[in-house]
Amino acid sequence: MSRGSSRTIRVEVLTRVEGEGALTVRLKGDAVVDVQFRIVEPPRFFEALLRGRAFGEAPDITSRICGICPVAYQMSAVHAVEDALGVTVDGPLRALRRLLYCGEWIESHALHVTLLHAPDFLGYESGIAMAKDHPGAVTRGLQLKQAGNELLRVLGGREIHPVNVRVGGFYRVPARGELAAIEERLKRALDQALAVVRWVSDFHFPDFERDYEFVALRHPTEYPILGDRLVSSRGLDIAVRDYEAHFAEEHVERSSALHSVLSGRGAYAVGPLARYSLNFDRLAPVAQQAAREAGLGPVCLNPFRSIVVRAVETVQAVDEALRIIAAYEPPDAPAVSVVPCAGTGCGCSEAPRGILYHRYRLAGDGTILEAKIVPPTSQNQKTIEEDLWRFVEPRVHLGEQELTWQCEQAIRNYDPCISCATHFLKLSVERG
Amino acid sequence: MATTTEDAGPPGPAGGDPMRPAPFRVARRVVETHDVFTLWLEPVGGPGGFSSQPGQFDMLYAFGAGEVPVSLSGPPGPVKQVVHTIRAVGPVTQSLQRLKRGDVVGLRGPFGSAWPVSLAEGSDVVLVAGGIGLAPLRPALYHVLSQRERYGRIVLLYGARTPRDILFAREIETWRGRFDADVEVVVDRAAPGWHGLVGVVTTLVPRAHFDPHNAVAFVCGPELMMTFTVRALAHHGVVPARTWVSLERNMKCAVGFCGHCQLGPTFICRDGPVYRWDRVAPLLGVREL
């Protein structure tokens, strides 16, 4: 290949990710001249179709944005609506919400780590193909995933689009015995999660680090799942309510999507790497120890190691679930009462892939007048492209197939959830 | 708690759990038409006597797929092999269609009422069949032909959709060749090359040679076909009280527990499938009963 010649790395359908995305990397000689991580997902207009709906419908409607992290949507939605209505949900109800969320983390992380991401490191086309040579690891991953699903099923009614979450709490809360019934299962899952950390820590990781600005929720005592403060690795420390004052969605000429940026500072990263690096001190001892044994420091800047961080977060989620179950005392009522009133509220929670922001403006009767949803993948999109700019150049000597695969892997580091990326269209729809 | 089929007793209603199928092996399989086939079944692991009366049915189970009622189409009485002629129309019959010699099905039965062949002794016997309805009538025909001297004239009138839908075509030729039975076959439509009759089976009734005032008629086919056939028979002089039909409804248990096959006051699995026409005619006259 002569110097100065052009070539293009093109991935028409990104695989082993959720939703439909495509990638184009243009090279001129050894230099990258263009990177486009495109979302080819058809628009579904969620923010528009929420207008005119009752506030109580927000969790059920927004969960349909994503089949992989429906709980994240339900949680951000109920928090935003509760914020608008001036309602606080805490005590056992909040614990149950965290428990449900743990189920989603376990399920989603186990799926990504074993079935979607690990095959990249071990050279397989899929987790299923990998199962022929690594049956134990795949079975373990599936069982771990199933433990997460079990939690979702018991608490939420079903794994995908659970039905039990409502503004104010739940429709029905479990009896102690119902949760106790899954304790054994989770204890086994903890061992399995620790084994997964050991397994992935032995993978070969490309030598690639970047000085990201990480953004995650921060809670006084908890590893962040639900929370009301956002922090960054460069000193941002704001209330979730102020999200839109600091974060903006920029129109990027060469992309069909809006890129989320920190105003005046540019790209930032959300997700396991950010959460971990900003909240290492909030991890449970068992998770911290697992991280150390896996060779992770308190901050991780290599996105390829996100698989290890995900495995550590799985340990965290299982351990946390066990602690919540052990301490659980059923509340008197499954939900706190809510009275519709006019107002605007924001909610943010840590989806498996990073922070998910919702804002709703409600009319006096509780009708949604306006909705804004910023999913994690659109926040990471700019960072993913920047990763690729830096990642590809030193590797231009690689063969076409090899380089393509590595680019895909670099995207899969973010476990992108493309169906979620609802927000790349600027909508100006007024509905009565 | 596992008990094997050996403990379960014979498949029939005589003993054990009436809902538990006994394994039968496909001993022979014949393709009758593009969508109809016949299975000869033998009990797995033992002689296992099997006896039925003409017109009765079995529940046949295709492993994992489900169970369907199927009339016996072979000789009545004690047999070594149970014969069923099946039309592949639904998921289960399609699964049964794919069976090969040596494969195993589940069988419960025989169930239900029979063509009253003893009552017909001394009379002319008119069998009118439509489509797959010939299969449940065949045991009755076998019976009357084997006891030929006890009956008057024997007439088989058979209507099929097209020449290629004619069941048991070779056997029909054999019956037709007998001097002591009248056989007429008619098809709804035919392409050139078919030299047989075209029309509906009801039109065969006035042409047939039997004494309507001393005849017993057994009619089996789609419900509409039976209704019009009985009408034609009555017009010709065969009274409804001497006419029997075989009915079909959804059936899950075959023993009167599941409730599906009710037709007014009767359970088709238990009181039928063979009914005297005048007993069911008022029921069949009610829409969506």
């Binding site: 695989t15 059920d60 089949g67 979607l116 269209l425 509905r431 | 994992g64 399609q94």
Partner: protein
């Protein structure tokens, strides 16, 4: 019975949340057996490997919302021996079919971020509006046991056997106390097709119809009952205009409560 030929399975995505295809990956206990019984020939969410068609069984998720997808579904149909649609999006247009009720005039002036925006249709329509469909599996998301039955049936060359009665059957079998009768909670269970296992009433909330209408449901009678229970016309419009807004029976019922 003899060894079966491994059938080629393809999974296709149109406008959707991916949840229905995730149901396949949620068959944790059966997944490896499934991969043994079938050749997973096209399933981007699970595998980089893509085998060429024709495919014995195509599972199609999502609705048609773009001109490009309206073309692409024909290619999928041509490449598929048996085409099964999975989920509310594919069978009724999904939640995004709410756009079908919007005033077109309000939806046309959408301003896209870039000139090369993705073209979108005015409607979100089920797959069967575009190509012949061999079987429709309902639900948002589909029930994984039902999904396995569809695959198993295809493996065995038969039609899937799925109950089609109301959610109420399932509620009563579970021993759930009727939320409509005992709490006065609006519930679409009496007119909604079973399959989910009657989850919502078991969690003390009304069914919101994610498996879509029964065949020939008496939605008018339920609408009348809900009105007596205190639901306004606007509530009723929303109740029937949800996950399966595009399903004919629900669409008609929702429209009958719209202000004139």
């Amino acid at each position: 019975m003899g060894a079966r030929r491994r059938l080629k399975l393809a999974v296709w995505k149109f406008a959707s949340c991916d949840g229905c295809q995730l149901s396949l990956l949620d068959c944790e206990d059966e997944l490896l057996a499934l991969a043994g019984a079938l050749e997973i020939a096209h399933f981007p969410e699970a595998s980089r490997a893509v085998a060429k068609g024709p495919y014995d069984l195509s599972l199609v998720e999502g609705s048609i919302t773009t001109p490009h997808d309206a073309e692409r579904i024909h290619q999928v149909r041509r490449a598929s021996k048996v085409l099964v649609t999975i989920g509310a999006c594919a069978t009724s247009g999904g939640i995004q079919a709410l756009r079908n009720f919007a005033d077109v005039g309000e939806w046309i002036p959408l301003v896209y971020a870039t000139p090369d925006f993705i073209h979108t249709l005015k409607t979100s329509t089920p797959i069967a509006n575009h190509v012949p469909v061999d079987f429709e599996l309902h639900g948002c998301p589909v029930d994984k046991r039902q999904l396995l039955e569809v695959i198993l049936a295809t493996l065995n060359g038969r039609r899937p056997v799925l109950a089609a009665h109301s959610v109420c059957f399932e509620c009563k079998r579970r021993g759930t106390v009727c939320v409509l009768v005992a709490d006065g909670t609006p519930c679409l269970g009496p007119v909604t097709r079973t399959g989910c296992g009657a989850i919502c009433p078991a969690y003390r909330r009304g069914c919101y119809g994610c498996f879509g209408p029964l065949k020939n449901p008496n939605t008018a009678a339920l609408g009348e009952r809900l009105r007596i229970l205190g639901q306004s016309d606007a509530d009723l419009v929303r109740a029937f205009r949800g996950i399966n807004a595009g399903a004919e029976a629900f669409r008609r019922e929702s429209e009958s409560h719209e202000p004139r």
